[in-house]
């Protein structure tokens, strides 16, 4: 069977899987961005309870493997009467795992805002909340976006794991087609190529554009 014939026969199925992969990617990215902002700021709180909660959360999710968390969400939570759909479990597990990594990036970003900005806000008698919202947060984006972009590419790769909890994504389809046709090189090769194309030609340029945008917002220019 030529590769072209393979593509005409199984290409549409793989594309359907790709759509699911992109859905997982988008949902998990939104979730992880929200979680990292919340926990990143909580980590900087002076209140030991808030800070402790964030630290425990971050260490827990960074210390265990994503696959273990995914299976825990999907297979163990039903024991507690909370049954998640495979797709939801996948998005939640990935979002929470990457949120823990992202929180550390946010924390680093807030700490990297020049001290003069804090002092300036203080001198202008801003309340702590206003200082955060108006002065500090807008400035962290150019700092956190480059590492966050790397993390998002990692997240795209991690979406492949949801196939193991029966989400019908690109990886799942590739495995399925492989078990029917045994054309392993074609199926997995195509799947690898699709992931590569998404990452190299869509995700990375988009994130790069965001970086430029964020830098311009605070009056920096990056090449």
């Amino acid at each position: 069977m030529s590769y072209f014939a393979f593509l005409t026969e199984h290409g549409p199925t793989m594309l359907l899987g790709t759509v699911t992969t992109i859905k997982v990617l988008i949902c998990a990215t939104i979730l992880y961005v929200i979680i990292s902002l919340i926990f990143g700021l909580m980590r900087l709180s002076k209140n030991p309870i808030i800070q402790g909660t964030a630290t425990v959360y971050i260490e827990f999710f960074r210390g265990t493997s994503l696959l273990v968390q995914l299976f825990w969400f999907y297979y163990v939570l039903p024991f507690f009467g909370l049954t998640l759909e495979a797709f939801t479990a996948g998005v939640v597990a990935i979002g929470m795992n990457f949120g823990a990594y992202g929180a550390e990036i946010v924390r680093g970003g807030v700490l990297a805002v020049p001290k003069g900005q804090w002092e300036g806000a203080f001198a202008l008698n801003f309340t702590p909340a206003k200082r955060m919202r108006k002065i500090i947060i807008p400035q962290i984006f150019p700092i956190i976006l480059p590492p966050a972009a790397n993390l998002t590419v990692e997240l795209l790769k991690a979406t492949a794991l949801v196939a193991l909890v029966t989400v019908v994504d690109l990886t799942f389809e590739a495995k399925q087609i492989n078990s029917i046709t045994w054309l392993s090189a074609q199926c997995f090769g195509t799947a690898l190529l699709i992931y590569y194309i998404i990452s190299r030609f869509f995700l990375v340029p988009f994130l790069r554009w965001l970086e430029v945008l964020a830098a311009r917002k605070v009056g920096k220019e990056i090449k």
Partner: protein, 228 residues
């Protein structure tokens, strides 16, 4: 199914899980050893003065880095036999992990080499040292401490990615948990124990790496003692 945690069941399966943990540690160790060497090869490809080698090397690294480890595992495991090379799941897993993380480590090495100030090279040039001597005596001893934190992080990273090996049938910790869970039809204890074991191994490792990083920074004079 009930949500109750059964201690007797947990204790019953614990020895089996601990035994499988040894396999996980072994897999992480071997995978890491391969990755450090593969990383050096990619670094060599990056630094050779031949342009075409650089480009090919960079594209390979980019490709491996931006595709999921899971599919790479499937690819190596299912495709190689089509070309008449039949390897065990263990060997396939080790090769894939080695290749995948080798690309990451090559970046760590590159960063470390670039972290050595240019003046060091110029001084060696002025003293008429050979390239080999420069690397061995001047550059590498300075680059290595810079590389330690990154290398340590990827060791933990590999450790946390070893559960993926269970998908091609390597009998490591996660594989054992799935097998035990399927046999007794109780997933609560096995997967929770896996999580706890991972925590107990990776948090001390992370703390240890942070400590090394601090020591390295101290030794290099990047931070002062008072700042700690």
């Amino acid at each position: 199914m009930n949500a109750e945690w059964r201690w007797d069941f947990a204790i019953e399966i614990l020895p089996q899980m601990l035994l499988a943990t040894l396999n996980t540690i072994l897999a992480a160790g071997v995978g890491y050893a391969i990755a450090t060497i593969v990383g050096l090869l990619f670094l060599l490809g990056q630094r050779t003065p031949i342009k075409i080698v650089n480009i090919i090397n960079r594209e390979i690294v980019e490709f491996i880095r931006s595709t999921p480890l899971l599919i790479q595992l499937f690819f190596v495991y299912f495709v190689l036999p089509q070309f008449g090379i039949t390897l065990s799941a263990w060997v396939c897993g080790m090769i894939t992990i080695g290749l995948h993380f080798g690309t990451y480590l090559s970046e760590v090495y590159r960063g470390a080499l670039e972290g050595v100030p240019k003046t060091q090279w110029e001084a060696c040039r002025a003293l008429n040292f050979s390239t080999f001597y420069t690397y061995r005596k001047i550059v590498l001893p300075q680059a290595f401490p810079i590389a330690i934190p990154g290398m340590g992080n990827y060791l933990v990273g590999i450790f946390k990615d070893t559960p993926l090996l269970s998908t091609i049938g390597v009998a490591e910790l996660f594989h054992a948990a799935t097998a035990v869970g399927g046999y007794h039809y109780r997933y609560l204890e096995p997967y929770t124990i896996v999580g706890i074991i991972f925590l107990m191994l990776s948090i001390p490792a992370a703390i240890w790496i942070r400590k090394i990083e601090k020591n390295v920074n101290l030794a290099q004079g990047k931070i002062k003692k008072e700042q700690l």
